[in-house]
Symmetry: D2
Subunit: 307 residues, 4 copies
């Protein structure tokens, strides 16, 4: 099984050309950028990476290029590839491909058209995919706000434990801390619980979370490194201030239209990733100027990732 | 453009083998069954057809076999293929394939992971796909309970009209009759509004709906033919009684676990379609027996489709 | 028991003075206005009447003045008083008062803070109130969009039938036509099902509804009288056009901020009712001018109620 | 203004007689019980106290008896009285009464029938009530799961600051830690932010919360005292274990039907409070036995409050 992941796992954006095509040639620089900023892993083809807006061929291509970078560099960075979708056969196809190219772990989403109504149904779907790659660690990616599947993860673990021998843990992108702590406590901490809400990482750290997967770790890794360090060293007031700064930064996503604002932050820190694909809405050039001014006003230049 | 569709459009189930593989060899009999029962069209790869639970290759294969049947028979039956998904590129791929094999029209879903938040964003996504097959009629398939995209269709038509020249109409699977009538009235009835809630077809007929797309038309076409005839001939009390019977029949779907119950009804009328794929839950053999007794108690044998 | 109500039951606005106090002196003119426009009943202290925004003393006072008008005039108009709330004791207090002043029927809401989770719990709450006035007809007022109680009314009737001997029927303000028809059919039409969504009255008429309770019957009764007449006489195309006009009129409520727009319509037809109380937001004087222009553009002057 | 509250504020249950009448004679013993267990305040007539299920006369009576106990004892315990409702006039009436009997602070709910759609509308409603008692500290009680008003509290503070000079803070019963920390940080910590989700108190403590208002502090105060002490003294692993124990205890509320289970816990620790009123469902005697066994199995006798 995978060792539990400590530290920051970035969920990379999918770099796009101006014409909307996938720009895999940008990935080597992206990898170096994350590495330079002390990121412990990359969770690709997820929500931030617009996996669902890509073709399966594109998802495979991205996985190949990322895997190649990491291998070439003999990097300790972990590569997790989201293979989730609504067809378990397509999930299996992507999982087998991941295995064949040396990805470290796969992640599965709850199917998001027909939504499993019970923990059992969800576990059975995941088991079907996981069984195809029995040697690979498998994460469940819990993000009910997007999948519409609101099953409690504590209930899920009770169903999945045993049924999915290669279940490694959960990327937990939801605000139910009661459920999250229950999962951390489950079978003496058997599962790797990766926190997925950057804006309240501190509230997860105090419960015992050791790592997180997030989109803002792409461009503000130093902020979170500092926050974690402050927390670990008992400087909790500083940790709160840094968490508040992360919130101020994240609040701009709401102000400028949502998830696509992340790519605007990437442009800001110097790594152009192009635009999000439809149906996600991108910022206009004019809005970008206002955004840029708002970011400067945060006065946190040294906390952004360095290109 | 397509002529407006009158009468019943069935949304076929995808026939499966016992091992869960697609069983296209059952489609010719399925086609003859629908034809014999006076069905005007087939809306394939939709919710009932588990399009999202299939691979793209399977969706194409089904479309090919259905198109072949209809062509061979020189049938007036219309074939509509749902090409919807979350990646517009995959939608386009399916749309081009549909065009190449002689499908009559395609249908597009709102993307259901990243949900368009405005009518404009939704129209732009649909336009991207529709523009790839400018000679084909395109239906928008509105089913917010599954897609999570709650944009009003009246607003959508205002954005889409002009932007999508080949927009034919909407398969409307939602209970907003204010919105539905507004769409029927839009630009003097320009768009083909196909009602998608069999359980309240009568309430749509009175507003001017001429046709519907539904799953229960697969197995109870005579019931709805009789209902429409009664309504058209002014026997509204009879029409209500038939609608109530349709409701009693549909209520068993809730009682026996949802959408998969449709395939139990198919078995009941004599056309075995196998099971739904995960994550949809299927009825046990034991439950089927109880279901069968409940169906008999409806006392409506002559209103089921004849095999 | 009450006889079933046919025709339009208006849900009167609560007239307010400029200082926000209840203006009961306006009620006699209001009563005459409804009578002149052929309204069959008044449903007071409901959502339109802001019952929940008043003190119990004010609710009683309004009921008294309305009851007095109707009695004095020996009017066939039915008076239904909403006594719903979250405390069954306060509901009972209002119910007993209603009885003592000669109100024709009371109505009960689902409690809307702690929401009954089952039809049984809802029926038990209603039974507790109804038992206090065993000689009075009792309506259940189903409006889940405001109460948050989403229990199916078909299930409710199954629990309430027998348990609440004086249950007269349901004011049904929801879009579930499957549920509505099932209630109409329940025990051979035992219960009086009053439709509560003016914007799709036609879709309820075809199912057998004979009457409705609505806010727009306050100011556009002629429109709905004409619609019902057209439907009853088989002129369904005309009925649809009138329903569309009702929708166009109702759409302005959304455009101008919601429920308070109803009082702007009252001003427009000549019966000043003042403003809604907080937390409902009222239209500015400037917005009223734009609203007035929009109403004129509907070009339906002869379909508004005559003062 | 009120000083910020540190420690545990219990939200007392309303003691009821077997016949469902309010049993104020139980309040002196209740007060002593809380005092003995080191509780810093009592938040009466709230959700736990079923304020909305009582008449206004009962709410006043309870407030009087609680105020009398505290005064008589010259106790440092703070008394906060929820005066929230849907009619601002009734809220004002309760607020003035609270003031007249020496209650320390009042709390206001978002009106929960017509729900304020914006922070401004919510602030205006609260201001109307707060202005009636300008010398009293006022808390806003944020519990969107029950009120249906989902306005962000950070937005609310921006509107309310200045508009409501006597706003003391917020009882925050929601899981939005991003919003909560933003409120804690607002104007250098001007407002008293009382955490309202006992099951994740630890995640609030790390953000700077100093106190909480909760129902489980009624019967498990020692558990939370120990948790807070462990956290404050840097024994975070112990704090987590205690939080997990609190979760295990709270999970039984879900298992045994919800909020009424709290009164079963009170019986367990020796202070009989009777039943919840309709529409809340109470445990049967049989279920109580199973519950009792489950509670014993938690093996935390020494962490329950001592009677």
């Amino acid at each position: 099984m995978i060792n539990k992941i400590e530290g920051l796992v970035a969920a990379p954006f999918s770099p796009m050309k101006e014409n909307g095509e996938l720009n895999v040639s940008a990935i080597p620089a992206y990898y170096n950028f994350l590495k330079k900023n002390g990121v412990a892993g990359a969770f690709i083809n997820g929500s931030t990476g617009e996996g669902v807006s890509q073709t399966n061929a594109e998802r495979k291509l991205q996985a190949e290029v990322w895997a190649e970078q990491i291998k070439k560099d003999d990097s300790p960075m972990k590569l997790i590839n989201l293979v989730g979708g609504t067809s378990y056969q397509e999930c299996i196809d992507l999982a087998l491909h991941s295995q064949s190219i040396g990805v470290d772990a796969i992640a599965i989403l709850a199917p998001f058209y027909f939504k499993p109504g019970t923990a059992k149904a969800l576990a059975e779907f995941c088991a079907k995919v996981a069984a195809a790659v029995p040697e690979m660690p498998v994460y469940f990616y819990h993000i009910p706000v997007l999948t519409g599947c609101n099953v409690s993860m504590y209930d899920f673990l009770q169903e999945a434990d045993g049924l999915i021998p290669n279940l490694a843990g959960i990327k937990y992108t939801h605000e139910d801390f009661m459920d999250f702590l229950s999962c951390l406590s489950f079978r003496d901490g058997k599962y790797d619980m990766l926190w997925g809400r950057d804006e309240n990482l501190l509230s997860a750290l105090v419960l015992g979370a050791r790592g997180g997967v997030g989109s803002t770790f792409n461009y503000a890794a130093p902020l979170y490194h500092k926050l974690i360090k402050a927390y670990n060293e008992g400087r909790v007031v500083e940790a709160r201030q840094l968490q508040q700064l992360s919130i101020d930064m994240i609040r701009l996503l709401g102000k400028y239209g949502g998830i696509a604002t992340g790519k605007a932050y990437m442009r800001y820190v110097g790594l152009e990733c192009g635009e999000f694909r439809l149906p996600v809405k991108n910022m206009t050039a004019e809005a970008y100027k206002a955004f840029e001014a708002d970011v400067r006003a945060l006065n946190m230049e040294e906390l952004f990732s360095k290109f």
